[in-house]
């Protein structure tokens, strides 16, 4: 990396402050004032609104394969979702997905 140490520390410092302010934003500013019902209704969907969109490109176009769709990773993603949906158990889904990934990587190699 061609970057001065001082510049890298600057990035770490600003990223830390910025990330904290994002996390603190509503908790810090709004405090215990009531949020209106329509806001709460939207906020209920935060996790299912953010994470699927974050994951989808990583599943379809993994950086590790140079952005090329990889059947092993696709299969692992599908297994993780299926196990998680039916078992409602996060750890079981992770372990099942990981196992599927390793078996599929070995199978397709």
């Amino acid at each position: 990396m061609n970057m001065a140490a001082s510049q890298i520390w600057l990035i770490i410092f600003f990223l830390a402050i910025g990330t904290f302010l994002i996390r603190f934003s509503f908790l810090g500013l709004i405090g215990d004032r009531e949020l209106p019902e329509w806001v709460l209704r939207h906020l209920r969907y935060t996790p299912v609104a953010v994470l699927p969109g974050l994951v989808a490109p990583l599943v379809l176009w993994p950086a590790a394969t140079g952005g090329e769709t990889d059947p092993a990773r696709l299969l692992a993603a599908f297994a993780t979702l299926t196990i998680g949906y039916f078992s409602k158990n996060i750890l079981a889904a992770i372990l099942g997905g990981g196992a599927t990934l390793f078996v599929a990587l070995w199978w397709f190699s």
């Binding site: 906020l43 935060t46 994951v55």
Partner: protein, 236 residues
């Protein structure tokens, strides 16, 4: 209720947070490895993991630093990746907004995907528990997770390039996130929101600096909320 004193609630949190150790360890290990490969010394690797404590943003920053991107672009992009946490913060506010300022600041520093998801689903399942019970539970969940995050980055930086790419550690993050999403697809509204998020995010993947994801998330929240509102009206 058996879990009404602070100590047992805190222990319950630790118990519920413990499985996430298996999740953050490979992810954080990988960060240590990748950052070291990119040329960062140990102190800076740990600076990222302790001060920023946000995996996706840390990876983004290191990637852009290797690409020699300008400072402002590195910061703007990495922070955009973290903007979802503003939504986490907003969704925690009805539950923890009444806490003292220093407690809210500490919650904010420790508000990561895992602690948020675990806490919010606990609060939704037990809406009547007190503010202090909610705080104890949150700090319980993060107690095993945060140290695992710090220590694994340290180990990752130590072993550096010794882990071969065949182990596909890169896919730890998507699997983790999928495993967290699947059980929360409880209603048709949740499924509709998730599908919207996927479709819009893929369609807008060309937009720079993670801004497409923000649009997708907003659209998905609207779809979920609107679906919920209409199905309630139909029932009424």
């Amino acid at each position: 209720m058996a879990t009404s004193n602070p100590k047992s609630i805190y222990l319950r949190g630790i118990f519920d947070g413990a499985p996430f150790v298996l999740v953050v360890v490979p992810f954080s290990l990988l960060f240590g490895v990748v950052a070291t490969e990119a040329g960062l010394p140990m102190a800076q690797v740990m600076g990222f993991s302790i001060l920023v404590i946000a995996g996706a943003a840390q990876f983004t920053a290191v990637q852009l630093m290797s690409d020699q991107a300008p400072l402002m672009i590195i910061l703007a992009t990495s922070l955009a990746v973290n903007l979802r946490m503003a939504m986490y913060s907003a969704s925690m506010t009805p539950h923890l907004g009444g806490a003292k300022l220093w407690q809210r600041a500490l919650v904010a520093y420790l508000l990561v995907d895992q602690s948020y998801l675990m806490a919010i689903s606990h609060y939704e399942k037990h809406p009547k528990i007190s503010l202090s019970a909610k705080l104890w539970y949150f700090f319980g969940v993060i107690t095993p997770v945060a140290p695992a995050w710090y220590i694994s980055s340290y180990i990752g930086a130590l072993v550096g390039t010794a882990i071969p790419p065949e182990y596909a550690l890169d896919f730890g993050l998507p699997i983790t996130f999928l495993a967290m999403i699947a059980p929360s697809l409880r209603t048709v509204a949740h499924i509709a929101a998730a599908l919207t998020s996927v479709i819009v995010a893929l369609a807008l993947a060309w937009m720079p600096y993670g801004t497409g994801l923000l649009v997708a998330a907003l659209a998905a929240m609207i779809v979920g909320a609107e679906y919920e509102r209409r199905s309630e009206r139909r029932r009424a």
